[in-house]
Every structure is written in C-alpha cells, then in structure tokens.
Amino acid sequence: MIAKLLSSSLLPVLFPIISGVAILLRPVNENGDFIHDDSHFYVGAMTFISALLNFAAVYLTKSELFILCRITGDLNIAFKIDGISKLFMILLAVIWPLVTLYAFEYLHRRPPTGRFFAFFLATFGILNGVACAANFLTLYLFYELMTFMTLPLVMHSQQREAIRGTVKYLLYSLIGAALALGGFCFFHVYGVSTEFTAGGVLNLKELTQHDKDILLAVTFLTLLGFGAKAGLMPLHSWLPTAHPVAPTPASAVLSGLITKGGVIAMLRVIYFIAGAEFLRGTWVQKALIALSLLTIFTGSMMAYAEKHLKKRIAWSSVSQVSYVIFALMLLTPDGFVGALLQIAAHAMAKSCLFLSAGVVIYFTFQGANYHYADQLQGIGKELPITMSCFAVASISLIGLPPSGGFVAKWFMGEGALGLGTLGYVGVAVLMISALLTAGYLLPIVADAFFPGEDYEYNDEASLTRLPVKMKLPLLLLSAGAILSGIFAGWLAKFFESIAAGIL
C-alpha cells in the first residue's frame, strides 16, 4: 500500500501544496516574517521531504495511470510518470531544496518571508503536477495554478515596479492559457482522447484535409499559448520585466524551472497530442522554428545590450529556453535529446547564475534589488567563490566544453543539420547566440576577477565570508552545470530511449 502510494505521483503533487498551505497558517509578525525560530526548520524539512518523495516516485514508479478524480465524461484529473516527468521531477528535487536553503539566508533582509515560503513550497507541488499530468485537462489545470501560485513570489517586494511586473506576467500568462484552452476544445473534439499518447491522439487516416488545416492552426495557437510561459515570441515580453523584480531565489526558479513548465506543456502538445508525424514538414513546424530562432537571436541581442544585470540574465533566459523549443520542433531524435539536455543544463546553470547575482546584491548593494553589469569591477576578489560559480555557469550557458550546455548544443546542431536550409540557418543562429552569450557574460567575469593593477586589495580578514546556506547551493549547482556535461553520455542514452518511444 505504502509502496503503491509512493510510486504514484499523488504525494509529490499534493504533499508540497498541503504543506505550503500549512506554512501559510504559521504566525507571522507585522512585517510578515515568521515569529517562531523553528519555522525555517519546518519549511526546510517539508521541502526536503518533498524532494525525497520525488526521488521515491521516480525510482518506484511503474508508469501507471493514476486517476485522481473524474470531472465529467471522459475527462479526468490524472497523473502518469513517464521519462519526461522523471527528468523534470529530478531537476525539481535537486534544485528546489537548494534554492530554498539559499532563500533562508537571502530573505533575511527582505520580508515577508512567511508568505514567500508558503507559496514557494506549493509551487514545487504544482510543477510536479505539470510534469506528471497525464492528459490535457490536468496539464491545463496545473499550468494555470502555476501562474497563480507564482504571483506572490513575483510581487514579493510589493513595490510599484514589482506589482506592475506581476500584472504584466498575469496578463501574458492568461492570454497564453486562453489560447491553450481553445486548443484543448479542438483536440477534444477531433482527437481520439485527450490523454497523452506517444505519437499523438489524432487519427490521421480519418481526418480530412480541411480538418487537418484547422488542426494545424489550432496546434500553432496552442503552442504559442504555452510558449508564453517559456518566453517564446511574441508572448515573451513579460519575462524580462517580471523575472528581475522578483526576489532572487524566485527569479532563479522562475528562469530555471518555471519557464520549463511552459516547455514541458509544449512538448506534451507536440509529441503527445498533435504527434510528430502530423507536424513534420508542415508550416507549423517551420513557423515555430522561425519564431524560436527569432527569439533566440533577439533574446541574446537584448541581453547583450542590457546593462541591468538581472534583466540581462532574464533576457538570456528568453533566448536559452527557445533553444529547447527550437530543438523540440526539429522533430528528430537528436534534436529531442538535445532539447532535454538543454532543459537540464540550463536549469542548473541559470539558477546558479541568478543565485550568484543575488549574492552580489546581498552583500554589496544592500537594500537594492538589482545592480548593473559594469558595477562589478573586482567583485571576484571579494566574493571569489560566488564569482567562480558565476563563471562556471556562464561557461555552460555559452556552451563551451565540458559543460552540459556544450553537449546539448552539439545534439541540437546535429539534429538541425538533417533538416536542410532552415536547419543550417538554425545552427548559424545558435552559434551567433552563443557568441552573444559569451559577449554578455564573460566581460562580467573578466572584470570581476581582473580589475587591473590599480585595484586596491582588501586584506584577507576583512573579506566577507559567504554563509554556508548560500555557498552550498552555488557550489552544487555549478558542479551540476559541469557534471551534466561530463556525464552527458548516460543522460543522452536515457533521453534517446524516450525519443525512441515517441518518434
């Protein structure tokens, strides 16, 4: 019984949500911080247990359908853990506790913590729901919940710009979700079911050309809608506004994982609802590849032109997440493997990058929520570990060996080259974007570590000591960014087995 419960995805989804609500009930003072000292301990313990539950579910699962409840007719709230869910659940279970640990220290000076941790933990569960959803309706439900649960995280500081950013975020997400809901209705009518099925739910033989045309347009709109969360153009513009205004731990997971929620939704629609066979060679594939390439280039270019560091990293997410979308739309096994590798590599590297930027804010620009890229001269001498982690994460984002980003790029490139002209353009854009990524990240590293001869060295004693709550997440995430490259062969093998099932 217990084994059965653990192996289903019920606990990973519900436990964090319930404990999040429980944390909300803990007493707080007028600032919104916890009154009792042990509250952090509870939050930490709950997050840790949630992560363990994730691991247990991934390890024990037999990939069975688990129906939570019936809504009406053939529509269920149902979960199923497959390869893609596993990847995402493991990423969540690794990154979430680390960011939570970091947040304990970081939010020290930034109330209200009570609300933050409650919603932060609940979001963990919601994201598990997105990963494990077994049909379109469940996915849509959790997708919407994801938007609402993260709102308090974004507007944490409650300053004017934060609220404005949140409104923008809300609006874009709702537009996106509305498009997706429209898509759901069509697939429900035309498809065999809306249960996620490898190869798609459409019965291609029975569909007329007219139906196909409609469905293509619908698929395109649905993907655009889910693309809003992933920062795909044209619904990308909330991302560089909303990510920087959130407190750093929230920015880290927003960029690292929550954008991937959108990507997972797109993946489900592409490979499990519409089906690769239906989309291959159609205008939808071309249009989405073109859009993702446009996003990749524009995102990188805007990041290059941006001085505000957190905004720069946010623009970088716009670009990097579209790598995944590009690779997914290639509809080739190599591209698919590359996409999943990129999801893993980017999640770690981007979280690490945001957390490092946060440490700099925390120690050097106290009271502010941001700083500019050119204010960091010599910061590497004062915060060597932080900036080393920043450098390592940058290497992964640029895609230099031996990091995870490099291997991901290799697979994406190999996948793209099979596609003809558009593929070649794609590879060129990937490379230009990598170059721009180097252009907007490496100068920061260089300035930080090599400020020049005139730099006045502080003596060792006066250097800030990085608290272990911040040091540990940074070190582990940057190690993850490198290790995901060094051991990419095994990951790629696992992903290839997933790809073989759906392509």
């Binding site: 409104v167 537009i175 513009s237 280039f297 060996p401 490099f406 790029k409 020049g452 730099y455 062969g489």
Partner: protein, 649 residues
C-alpha cells in the same frame, strides 16, 4: 584489450588539473610549499610521459563522457609532442618560481598554467576531433588567465582580443565539426581518410573544412587571425609566453595537420589556399618583427612568422600527396619541434632580462647580454637556430621544407606561383636574419648603461642548468642531422599520412641543401645593412645604437577592422534589429498595459476600510474578520464546496 598503461593517457590529462587545484589549496597557506607542489606536479607529469614512451599503440576510450565519449591514443608523432610539452612545462614551472617571486596572484597563475597543461595534453592525445575540440576549447579558456596574469592595461587588452578570437573561431570550428560528423559519419582521425571518400557533397565538405580550420588557424596565428598573438605574447609573463608561443600555437597546427592530411590530402585548392595564407603569415610576421622595438614583441612576431613557415610545410605535404610528401612531412615535424624548443630558450632569455631590469624595450636593455655567458650561449643557440644556420636545430627543418617546395615546382602545373612561393620563403628567412641581427646588436654589441651593467647575478643555479640543457638540446639536434633529426622527422610519417616505406635520404651538407640557407642568411645581411641599420636604427648622443619605432600605429588590422566591426558595427545592427522586433511583437500589449499601469494602486495604509462593510478600523483583527468581504466570500465558497462534494459523492 585494455592495457594498464592505457590509463596513463587519462592520468596525463587529469593529473595536472588535479595538481593545479592542489597547489592552489596549498598556496592559500604557504607560498613556498605551493611552488614545490607545482614543481612536483609538472615533474611527475614528465616522468609519466617518459614512462609510457616505450609502449606502442596505446589507446583509451571513455564512452559517454562529454556526450559522444572521449578517445585518446598515442602514436609516434604524439609521443614526441607530449614529451616536448611535458619537458617545456616542467622547465617553465621551475623557472616561474624565480621569475614570479615578486608578483601578485601566483596561486591563480599556477592553477591555470597546470590546468592548461592538462588541456593541451588532451588535445595532443586525442584520437578524434571531438575530443580534440573539447580539450582545445578548454585550453583556450584556461590559458586566458596566462595572458591576463599581469593585469596591467596592455595585458587586459590583449586578453580581451585573445579570448574573443578564441571563442568566435572556436564556435566556427564547432559548426564545422557538426557538419563533418554529419557528412562523414565519424570524427575519428584515423578513419576520416577512408570515410571522406564516400562524401558526395564536396562543396559542403569544403565549408566544413574551412570552418574547422578557423579555430585551429586562430590559435596558430595564421593571417588574418594573428592579431591576438603579438600583443598577448608580449603581455604574458615570460614563462607563460614561452608556453603560449612554443606549444599552444602548435595545438592549432595539430588540428590543421589533421584536416590537411586526412581530409584534403592531394587537394590542389586546399593546398594553395594554405600556401597563400602561409606566405602572408610568414612574411608579415617577419616584417613586423623587424619593426618591433620590444624584445618580447620581436619574439612574438617571430613566432607568427615561424608558424607561417610551418604552415608552408603543411601546405606542401598536402599538395604533394601521400606518396611524395616524405620531405614535407619530415620538414614540418622538425620545424615544429625546433620552433617549440627555440622559443623556449629565447623567451626564457627575455624572462631573465625582465626579471632583472623590469624592462623589455630594446632601447632600455641595451647591452644586457654582455658578460653573461650562459645567457649569451642560450641566445646564440636560439637565434641562430631561428635563422636556419647549419649545425643548429632550425636548419634541417627549413631545408627540408625548402626542398619540398623545390620538389613540387618540378611537377606543378603553374611553376611560376611556386617559384614565387620559394622566393617568399627565402626572403622571409632573410628578414628573420635581420631581426636576429637587430636583437644581437642591441643586446650584445651596444654598451650597457651603468644600471644594466650592474646586474651580475642574474639567474639562480637550477635555472642556469635548465637553460643550458635546453640550449644544448638545440645544438645536439642540429649537429646530428642523420642520427637524431631524421629520426624525429620520421616520427610524423603515419600521423601526417605519408605512405612511403623507405625515405629519401637528404644530404644536409651538400651544396643544394646549403644553398637555401646561404641565400637567406646572405640576403638577410644585405637587407640589414642597407635597410634596417640605416633606416630603422639610429645613434644616440653617446654613439650607441637605438631602435626607432617606425611602424605606423594606425596600420593595425585589429584597430582598423576587427574591433570596430565586433564592438560597434555588428552589435549596432543586431541591437537595432532586436529592438525593432521586440517593439513590434510586444508593443501593442505593452501599450495596453502601460495604460492600465497608470491607474492608482490601492495601498493598505490609504484605505483601511477597503473590503469591509463599514468603518471598523478601531477594532482588533479577531472581531474585524467576520465583518470583512473576504470572510463572506470564504463562507460562501465553503458552502459551495460542500454542495459540490455532496453531488460528487
């Protein structure tokens, strides 16, 4: 069958990186201890290399590491090169202790120098181009710190150029490798030559080859990617310059050799393309060296020129094809080996000057060499070798490459072009003689100032021994062309795809062989006395020679084209495009939002009664709650939930 010795290959790559970290940790507490750890690490590396030299056909595959898996192998050519690498690294690491004694940030220096050692070992041991690229990029990245180490303005500037060119061209190489892998289905160096025969799309193959070439050519300082070299080698600390110049550039050559001998062997277009670049590089480098007034800059530009000579050798071995390229192959190998060792000695000499005087401008270090026997001996061995003087190491390589050109003239369709190539080769050699003479005049012929003459004890004992040993190696190779030099030359045969089983014997001291060297040196003397001495040098008030800095400052590819293009023009166009796209796509929605955003947000302090049915501000929260709008909504929702639950159940 995996032999135990196979794992030494992995050890050679991992050990220096781990050792670098060890020395870094140690350096946090004890500087002396750190230095000795760095010595030990590089000496153990050398010992490991010596230990595996007797094994043949070592190879190691690590499946799945770094995506496609890493493959290492060890053949004769790789053996000679890893031996040189390990030797030079050991020597420079030992020298660094004295050289860097009064410098900042030495922990960092040792860490990155040792990491570079691991990476370059990976490049030379790689059995496929993927592995090669992985380590090549790592090498580019970590060697950045070697360039920027001094952290003065020149170093920071040079390092920017270095890393920018490395990354731009590295990405091109990556693209090329993807295309090649797609076309040929393999990147394994030994299998390329067979699998390339099945490729139909030759145009795409050229594109791939050219893209791959970019990254390696940039590291090998081939025109027009040479711009980083003169500044970077000048700015780095001398031991690091020796490594950059002697070895890292050869890692680039390694890649070029692979493409030229495995993919494009016998390909006329490719050969001529290489030859043209080679001619420009060697002539331009020599010319820049003649004009330079800083000893390290002279040596750096000289490196560029010498790399042009090596590329000429590669172009010839590509043109002559696997059945005839014996001379070219031996010449290329010997030239590479020779140049690595020569630059080691010369840069160490430059290091000695800087260590003692903290100056590098030729006019300020006049006469430094006087009365310093070991210094002078090392300089002579290196400089004469550079000129291609018989009985020294550079001569044999140069003669062989020259012979290869002559050999090709006989069978070429357009002998005129190759005649031109031969003369460019000889004239570049003449310019080499000029800058060597210029250095000689400044360092030895000129009278030292009092300050310079005061440096008597200029180097410690250990380094003296090492310097002497390195110079003697040069002499030894040069003096035994048949017993030693030819043997080294033959080591490259299989790697550079030479299928001949018996080799041409060359009489190195016949008139034909000596003729080339004679023309170069003779012409060099003439140019020196009619052009360099009167035009580029003058006498100061005491009658001593001074060098004039006459090269126009603005005539610099980097400032004229690269920097403006990459810093200003392309980003401007790109940013314009990106902003316009962003504006068009998100403008309308943002406009609506900005109107919405202008409305007032309600703050809690302003309106305490918001959400309540009547003014309750005086009361406590507990009594307040039931009268709020939120409370009513909640009870209503709960009621609905109960109804819902009843209906469902």
């Amino acid at each position: 069958m995996l032999h135990k010795a196979d794992f030494v290959l992995l050890f050679l790559v991992i050990w220096p990186m781990a050792g670098g970290l060890m020395s870094y940790m140690a350096g946090k507490t004890n500087k002396t201890f750190r230095d000795y750890i760095a010595w030990t690490v590089s000496l153990i590396e050398l010992a490991a290399v010596l230990a595996i030299l007797r094994y043949d056909n070592l190879s190691l595959s690590l499946n799945g590491i770094c995506g496609l898996g890493l493959n290492f192998t060890l053949d004769n050519f790789r053996k000679i090169y890893i031996l040189i690498i390990a030797y030079m690294w050991a020597e420079t690491t030992v020298f660094s202790r004295e050289y860097l004694a009064h410098h900042h940030n030495r922990n960092r220096y040792y860490l990155f120098v040792l990491m570079t050692l691991g990476a370059i070992m990976g490049v030379f041991l790689s059995a496929d181009l993927y592995t090669c690229f992985v380590f090549f990029e790592m090498m580019s990245l970590v060697s950045y710190v070697m360039v920027v180490q001094e952290e003065n303005q020149a170093a920071i500037f040079a390092a920017q150029t270095y890393i920018a060119i490395a990354i731009i061209t590295g990405l091109m190489t990556l693209t090329g490798l993807m295309i090649l892998n797609n076309l040929a289905g393999t990147l394994e160096i030994d299998k390329l030559i067979v699998s390339i025969k099945n490729v139909n799309n030759t145009r795409l193959l050229y594109v791939a080859g050219l893209l791959i070439f970019m990254g390696f050519a940039a590291k090998a300082a081939i025109f027009p990617f040479h711009v980083w070299l003169p500044t970077a080698h000048t700015a780095a600390p001398a031991p690091a310059s020796a490594l950059l110049s002697g070895l890292l550039t050869k890692a680039g050559m390694f890649g070029i050799i692979v493409i030229s001998s495995k993919i494009f062997i016998n390909n006329l277009h490719w050969g001529i393309f290489l030859l043209i670049l080679a001619l420009i590089t060697m002539f331009l480098g020599a010319l820049l060296a003649v004009f330079a007034v800083n000893i390290k800059r002279v040596l750096a530009c000289s490196s560029m020129s010498q790399l042009g000579f090596i590329l000429t050798g590669i172009a010839m071995l590509c043109l002559l094809g696997e059945n005839h390229n014996d001379l070219a192959v031996r010449g290329t190998v010997l030239y590479m080996v020779g140049h690595s060792l020569i630059k080691l000695v010369l840069f160490l000499d430059a290091g000695i000057i800087h260590m003692n005087t903290h100056k590098l401008e030729l006019n300020e270090i006049r006469g430094f060499g006087r009365g310093k026997k070991i210094f002078a001996f090392a300089f002579m061995c290196g400089a004469l070798g550079l000129m291609g003087m018989p009985l020294l190491n550079g001569y044999i390589g140069k003669t062989l490459i020259h012979e290869a050109i002559v050999e090709y003239i006989a069978i070429a369709d357009e002998p005129l072009f190759f005649k031109f190539a031969e003369w460019t080769f000889l004239i570049s050699g003449a310019f080499t003689t000029c800058y060597v003479l210029k250095l000689y005049v400044m360092l030895f012929a000129a009278k030292p100032s009092a300050e310079i003459a005061a440096c008597k004890k200029y180097i410690n004992f250990i380094n003296k021994i090492f310097l002497l040993a390195s110079s003697l190696i040069l002499l030894a190779i040069g003096c035994s062309p048949y017993k030693l030099a030819d043997k080294i030359g033959f080591l490259g045969s299989s790697f550079m795809n030479n299928t001949l089983t018996h080799h041409h014997a060359v009489n190195y001291f016949s008139f034909e062989s000596l003729e080339g060297a004679g023309i170069s040196i003779g012409l060099g003397l003439v140019i020196f006395f009619i052009f360099v001495r009167p035009m580029l040098m003058a006498e100061d008030e005491t009658g001593e020679p001074v060098c004039l800095d006459l090269w126009p400052k603005r005539l610099n590819l980097e400032f004229l084209i690269f920097r403006p293009l990459i810093n200003k023009i392309l980003p401007f166009i790109g940013a314009l495009f990106a902003r316009v796209t962003d504006l068009i796509l998100s403008g309308p929605i943002d406009l609506i939002l900005s109107r919405a955003g202008r409305q007032r947000f309600i703050k809690l302090q302003e309106d305490k009664d918001f959400g309540f049915y009547h003014d309750q501000s005086e009361q406590s929260f507990k009594t307040l709650l039931p009268s709020s709008l939120a409370y009513s909504l909640m009870t209503f929702a709960l009621g609905l939930l109960f109804v819902f639950a009843y209906l469902v159940l």
